[in-house]
């Protein structure tokens, strides 16, 4: 556990020393929220939904990039190769990565929440906050696995554009930028099959106090398994190529 903290510390320092990256990854969802989100937040109810949507957009960005691009980078880094010769298990590295992603995802979501409370009429009932934060972070898991999949299956140069493309497409078509009913017909048709849409249904459900539905959870579980299998496959393939 001490080692998890050491890695967490070292990785956080590395990130903070290049503030440009941190500010960009934390601030850009905020910017999107102010420009694209706020016009749709007309009353308290719609403002709550918009704020929740952009909080998801922020979490999505952090987990998908944190895992996707970082893993692709680490695969070609001689420093990572050296770290493998140290007495540390892959599990320890993985746990510190997850903690890191959670920490930053929470930070990015907080920025949206603060902006939402300041500039819109979004207000949650007190008893909604905890379930909201939990489903917000829990729903990020399949996308972390998607990120890992990209990180292991694509070379570094491809990982960045692929991650970017998927990030924006999934966010838009899943209804995180605009409510799904505003999407053009052909996008709306595929929207309900996307993991981001299911993620949205869960979080919106909590925010709006809708009755609990099992379907979006099942969908997301299927996606989690699917991305999980791809991620493990990618990891094995990479291990096989580099560390036979």
């Amino acid at each position: 556990m001490k080692l998890v903290l050491s890695y967490l510390q070292a990785e956080t320092i590395q990130l903070l020393r290049i503030p440009y990256v941190v500010i960009m990854s934390l601030a850009s969802p905020g910017l999107f929220f102010l420009i694209l989100g706020l016009p749709n937040a007309k009353d308290a109810a719609s403002a709550n939904v918009v704020m929740a949507s952009y909080a998801m957009f922020a979490v999505l960005g952090i987990v998908i990039f944190q895992f996707g691009v970082n893993i692709a980078e680490d695969r070609v880094s001689p420093w990572e190769e050296y770290l493998r010769s140290l007495p540390v298990t892959p599990q320890t590295r993985f746990i510190s990565r997850i903690c890191m992603a959670l920490l930053f995802a929470l930070g990015a979501a907080c920025i949206i929440i603060i902006l939402g409370l300041l500039f819109s009429s979004a207000r949650f009932a007190l008893n909604l906050w905890l379930p909201f934060i939990i489903v917000l972070l829990l729903g990020g898991i399949p996308f972390a696995l998607l990120g890992i999949t990209i990180g292991y299956w694509f070379p570094l140069k491809a990982a960045l554009p692929v991650t970017n493309l998927l990030y924006f497409l999934l966010a838009y078509a899943g209804g995180l930028w605009f409510p799904p009913q505003y999407l053009p017909a052909f996008v709306a048709n595929i929207s309900s099959y996307l993991p981001t849409r299911q993620y949205g249904e869960i979080v919106w459900g909590v925010v709006q106090g809708r009755p609990w539905s099992v379907w979006p959870w099942l969908w997301l579980l299927v996606y989690t398994l699917f991305f999980g299998i791809l991620a493990i496959g990618g990891y094995r393939r990479d291990e096989g190529q580099r560390y036979r």
Partner: protein, 315 residues
């Protein structure tokens, strides 16, 4: 000429007794037995076998592509052999527990550029149960003034010193050094040699690969020569020096020079290159034979060339 393995082991244990009057049969802390490893169609290791005894400094010598780095990567647990046995302290090097007892340097000195020297030491230190204090490592490797500098701004030599400090920080029982002095200035090289001697004196075991004959003379208790993924010879440093301590004579002559001391002759037009262990005797012999030679140059053979010589013998 290949020194048979039996002789080689006999020699090594004799060296051991002379050097450190320790136990008569030192335990073998590194063991590589009949190891095969290929990458695609490239056969990197083809039945490699050697042992390193506790407290010994074994130098692994061989031309580029002879499989030294592959051997070290197996010992560090990066890869697993296709066939054969690799053991550190009687354990599989892929086990985390045994890796607490070894130290190594990054293969290429590439560090996360935004971390400071002290922070990198701290991260690596956190992996070991009874490591040295960071301040002590900074002093020993002459990094005190650089402690709070980000690694991205260091010179190549400074990064190398940091890389070497990482091998020692965990108070390991075995240290692996792959070409440790490449890119080091003379002063830093002496710092490293001093550290290796201190470490050896405290009972530590070192496996190092190098291209410098001087480094072997200074440090090694035994040498193993690799070629094409196999051990083709080895023995005490004196024995190896005698074998690779060849001199090279270049001269221009009208007739083919000949002398019993010459081991090999190469010819390019009227320029001859002679290889010998005794340059003086060859010159005397040529003068006695009244061979008209001019532009005589005598130079020691580089280790690289000496390898070619030895590996040529092995064919």
């Amino acid at each position: 000429m290949t020194i048979p393995m039996k002789t080689q082991q006999a020699m090594s244990s004799r060296d051991q007794e002379q050097e450190q009057s320790g136990p008569p049969r030192p335990e073998s802390v590194v063991s590589v037995q009949q190891v095969y490893k290929s990458f695609g169609t490239i056969q990197a290791l083809q039945g490699l076998s050697f042992d390193v005894a506790a407290g010994e400094l074994l130098a692994l010598l061989g031309p580029n592509g002879s499989g030294k780095t592959t051997a070290i990567s197996l010992l560090l647990g990066h890869r697993r052999p296709d066939k054969g046995i690799v053991r550190l302290l009687d354990q599989d090097p892929r086990q985390t527990a045994v890796r607490r007892l070894i130290g190594s340097t990054p293969q290429q000195t590439v560090f996360p550029s935004t971390l400071k020297v002290r922070e990198i030491l701290r991260l690596v230190q956190a992996h070991y149960p009874t490591p040295y204090a960071i301040q002590e490592m900074l002093t020993r490797f002459e990094l005190v003034d650089l402690a709070n500098r980000q690694v991205g701004g260091l010179s190549g030599g400074q990064k190398r010193k940091l890389a070497l400090a990482l091998a020692f920080i965990g108070r390991p029982r075995i240290i692996f050094l792959d070409e440790p002095t490449v890119g080091l200035d003379i002063e830093a090289r002496h710092v490293l040699w001093r550290e290796i001697r201190t470490y050896k004196a405290s009972g530590g075991t070192v496996l190092l690969t190098t291209h410098y004959l001087e480094e072997i003379e200074q440090l090694a208790s035994r040498v193993v020569i690799m070629h094409k993924g196999q051990v083709i010879g080895g023995g005490s440093v004196e024995a190896i020096k005698a074998r690779i301590g060849l001199k090279q004579l270049r001269l221009v002559a009208d007739t083919l020079p000949d002398a019993p001391e010459i081991t090999r002759i190469e010819r390019e037009g009227d320029t001859y290159t002679l290889y010998t262990t005794d340059a003086d005797a060859v010159v005397r012999s040529l003068v006695k034979q009244d061979i008209h030679f001019r532009n005589l140059e005598i130079s020691p053979l580089s280790l690289e060339k000496a390898f070619l010589q030895i590996t040529g013998e092995a064919k």
